[in-house]
Symmetry: C2
């Protein structure tokens, strides 16, 4: 039985993988946990501890082999393959998601989209066809999909997520500003700009008080 790896460690690995891939593309051979930490705003000890869950990557005092560590992290995270996604909700946000060009180069491919608005059904947005939301259940019964992206209004999110989970989807990227409950076997990541704003106001407030 493998050890349970904390979710916060898993959350940091893509950040490490991205930094290492950037170093690799610039031809760097070796990087220290010190230097990697400075780039990423993480302590060197944290980096060494996080990576220790996955085996021994660096030699004391010699740093990490950039190419090997980048490769291993991509393997661990499954970044060396493609993942299929469907999008639910083709409003302004959904259309931005369909035309966002950052997913495809990273292996995340939106294959179909769904909406309840008849005016949108049959349209092609960003190369992706919009289907009626009523067909979602039968669609999922016919083909496996890795990831569901939810960009519907908050009041519709819970029932859509139930359909996705029933249809066998085990990873959900949720843009709806609502907390959702799913079985333990399903991963949900919430994209929540308000939480990001609320952690920045701490610094704004503190600086204002210092300036007074």
């Amino acid at each position: 039985v493998p050890i349970e790896i904390p979710a916060v460690v898993i959350d940091r690995l893509p950040v490490y993988a991205r930094a290492l891939t950037a170093l690799e593309s610039r031809g760097r051979d070796v990087v220290s946990s010190q230097e990697l930490g400075e780039v990423l705003g993480v302590t060197p000890a944290q980096i060494r501890k996080d990576l220790s869950y996955f085996g021994r990557f660096g030699k004391q005092g010699r740093g990490y082999n950039v190419q090997r560590l980048a490769h291993e992290l991509r393997q661990i995270l499954g970044l060396d393959r493609q993942w299929s996604m469907i999008l639910i909700g083709v409003g302004h946000l959904g259309q931005a998601i369909l035309t966002y060009d950052g997913f495809h180069p990273q292996g995340f491919i939106i294959i179909d989209a769904f909406d309840s608005n008849p005016a949108l059904v049959g349209k092609v947005v960003g190369g992706v066809t919009v289907h009626h939301i009523e067909s979602l259940r039968s669609y999922l019964a016919q083909r496996p999909v890795d990831i569901g992206i939810v960009a519907v209004p908050p009041e519709a999110a819970a029932s859509i997520i139930d359909v996705l989970v029933d249809g066998g989807i085990r990873a959900i990227l949720n843009y709806a500003p609502t907390s959702v409950s799913v079985p333990d076997t399903v991963e949900v990541k919430n994209i929540d700009p308000v939480l990001a704003l609320q952690s920045m106001t701490f610094y704004l407030k503190t600086a204002k008080q210092q300036a007074l």
Copy 2:
């Protein structure tokens, strides 16, 4: 001189504040770090340690006073007031941001928007007027703005962020998929759906291997 509080602690405080505000609105008087931890997927020890940076909130064995702690956290984070924001980039994503109804109730008010597309200039989207991007510098010289939201294409992000920083903005919510460099006095939070996806594929990959 106050102690330096780790950024990861600050990032968790809005999550605590939100959970406590929800408990408060349901009339709960007291909550244990145990129960709060279960709701949030954080250990009780982590919650106690995070809160200890800001003083003594709970009594051993008696739990936290929900109303007092919720109030204190909102004070610490500056959630008890309004913050002015401007949006740069009124494409699909920008329009979704302007029509998103989650900011205003939390005190985050978008007061103006900017774009380089002449067809958009002068339009009102979600109650907010779109101005020409060329007027951004003089706009910021005339009035203080707390937060800038960047929703421009990645190749335009760095120069826009320079203008925002020069104009005195000290908190930036960056939706452009690019890493940006700013002075130490400026906070940036990146909304990065690819990082969220990349941490979920770890679980998808692991489960697939177990199923084989």
